[in-house]
């Protein structure tokens, strides 16, 4: 694993050094991290904070997609809860595109790697997940979090070996969840933060994927995130505790768009396992978005059922990100003997 030794093209390189660049086998993850933290949002949405959040989480350690991928690989055959979905009555009755699409992409990859992913969403999102899964050729069980009880939480902490949250709003210290603009979002699955906290406390693998500081996982850098994120410490709502969540995960993956984080994690798993079939192509991801929109899921920035995209970024640009991720992965395994 890691550097990989398999050739998919060209003559074998047995007489040449396989690696250049000082044998740094973390290079593809570095490139994946850079790509998925490239912001393309509309400029009146929060812009410019992702690199700072990324840097804060990264510190001097390994690329974030590598850390998360390696952690998953260290727990083969795990039953993993993929947690996403924030329905917002009146605006996003069946949730937003950011979160669910990355979640089904992860479900596909994890299934193919021998894990047992289950998708945990509020009832409103169940049919959205249902129509997306066949598009990426996966059929993970869908589990409802609506009306989640404390008893269930205790059971699920035992049932699951780990969890990945994708753009799942987390509560702040006052127990309030907020949109990136500081609007309080009433939860339909209140104790779901307890599930993630419980798994983390049990020493199980938890990975949070987010793009704004208000999503589960950012509790890992709670105080610094409150400084970096606009409205981080002052949401403007009566709770007055800011939008940054106190819910931490073992690993935190920061991306420009949360779904990009999920695609990046799948790409990292592709490199680590030398599997190029894990991430669907860009057109398939766009078809997945189309399927979710047909079921009532909406872009969170545009809130427009005629817009096929993610966080205000049109489908063509989403497909472009996936194309570049796939290029990074494929190039890493492409061997060619060049003599000049």
């Amino acid at each position: 694993m890691g550097c990989g030794t398999r050739s998919i093209r060209g003559p074998d390189c047995s007489e040449r050094p396989c690696e250049t660049g000082g044998g740094n086998t973390l290079l593809p993850y570095e490139n994946i991290d850079h790509l998925i933290t490239t912001e393309m949002r509309p400029h009146n949405m929060v812009q410019g904070i992702v690199p700072q959040l990324y840097k804060t989480v990264r510190g001097t350690g390994d690329p974030l997609t590598y850390r998360a991928a390696r952690a998953l690989t260290a727990h083969p055959g795990s039953r993993i809860a993929l947690i996403t979905g924030i329905p917002l009555p009146g605006h996003l009755p069946k949730g937003e595109i950011d979160g669910p699409v990355g979640t089904v992409a992860l479900a596909r990859a994890l299934s193919r790697l021998g894990h047992h992913p289950e998708v945990l969403v509020p009832d409103e999102l169940a049919s959205v997940i249902g129509v997306m899964q066949p598009v990426v050729d996966v059929s993970a069980p869908v589990v409802s979090t609506t009306g989640l009880t404390r008893g269930q939480v205790s059971q699920w902490i035992q049932r699951y070996d780990g969890a990945i949250t994708v753009e799942k709003l987390g509560r702040n210290r006052k127990g309030v969840r907020h949109s990136i603009m500081g609007t309080p979002i009433p939860p339909s699955d209140e104790p779901v933060d307890d599930l993630v906290d419980g798994l983390t406390q049990e020493g199980k693998l938890t990975i949070g994927i987010g793009d704004g500081g208000n999503e589960m996982g950012f509790g890992k850098i709670f105080h610094l995130a409150r400084e970096i994120v606009p409205r981080g410490a002052a949401c403007g709502c009566p709770c007055a505790d800011g939008i940054v969540t106190s819910t931490a995960t073992q690993h935190l993956l920061v991306a420009a768009v949360s779904n990009f984080g999920a695609y990046g994690l799948v790409s990292a798993l592709s490199v680590l396992h030398e599997r190029q079939d894990l991430l669907p192509d860009g057109e398939t991801i766009v078809r997945t978005i189309e399927a979710s929109v047909s079921e009532g899921c909406l872009d969170g920035a545009r809130v427009d059922p005629t817009f096929i995209g993610d966080d205000g970024i049109p489908g063509t640009a989403i497909a472009a990100v996936v194309t570049l991720l796939r290029t990074i992965v494929t190039q890493w395994f492409t061997l060619f003997d060049r003599h000049f």
């Binding site: 912001e39 949002r41 917002l88 472009a320 990100v321 060049r338």
Partner: protein, 342 residues
Amino acid sequence: MPLIVAEHIDRLVCTVEMRFRSGLPRGVTVPLYEAARRAQGGQPLAYLAATALRERVRAESHVLVVTGAGAPPGLPRSETDGPPGAAAIARAVDWGLGAKPVIVTEARHAAPIVAAVEALGVAVVEPEVFRGRGHTAVLETLPTGLEADRIRAAEIFERYQPAAAVFIEKGGPNEAGMYHSIMGIGRGPDVMANAFHIVDLSRQRQCLTIGIGDGGNEIGFGMIRDTVQEVQPYGLRCQCPCEKGIATVTTTDVLVAASISNWGAYGISACLSLLLNRPDMLQTEEMERVMLERCVAAGGEDGAYGAPLLMVDGTWPRTQEAVITMLRNIVVNGLTDYTRGF
């Protein structure tokens, strides 16, 4: 606000490396980029180049666009990295700044460069036509040979009085006056155009110089020669008898160290689009595809495979189009407001 957007333009075109596994160096892009940023005060590199062009180039000014990499037998008619970047700069100069691009290269590299420039809506024409209308460029060739190129560079300056010169993937000499491939294969000044003369003249004539490259052997990288020597496998010592390494000594006012040189040029064009509020200026995906096809049809070859493939540095056409799509979206969304109710 432009700086926040420009940060992400750099992130895309300067920090995502996509080289395949072979003898070609990998893991050099980010160290070169970071060194170039430090050496220039810390602002995004494509933004630095775009703002400099905007400040220094007036309508009807001439801008030298210098490119063309490779030599027989490996790459006799340029590689595909360079000409498309030159075309993007020529397009930005003409369609964006209303100025007049002058393409400069070796005669052997002219055909694929002309094909690329014309695919982006700038016709390469006779001097009379060039003087008479816009959306045109002229071609000037460097004959190769130290003295001949010095004379020609002086003639070019005399003729055009350029306000700026932009070098895209254009080889620069090392301290021994030798040119090198990234793998350290050496070539002399009689084989390669000595475009550094243009840099020398620019310095005397207050002409802005911008170098765009991806390896450290290209004009501009003299600015961070120490880093090139440190990170490039053949940086300090090449495979040719000169033994002085591939790092060039030629320095430009602005250096853009990119993942692929073309992308550095696209990044500059994207930043100019942003600054000029002209999101249509950067080429479309369709233009990008047509440009690559015409460039290869005219003899351009992929520099990584050394073959007439529809590729740039070993990456596919769809990869180039994806970069364009992302850049265009970064610019459009950077100029757009949406309001939502929560």
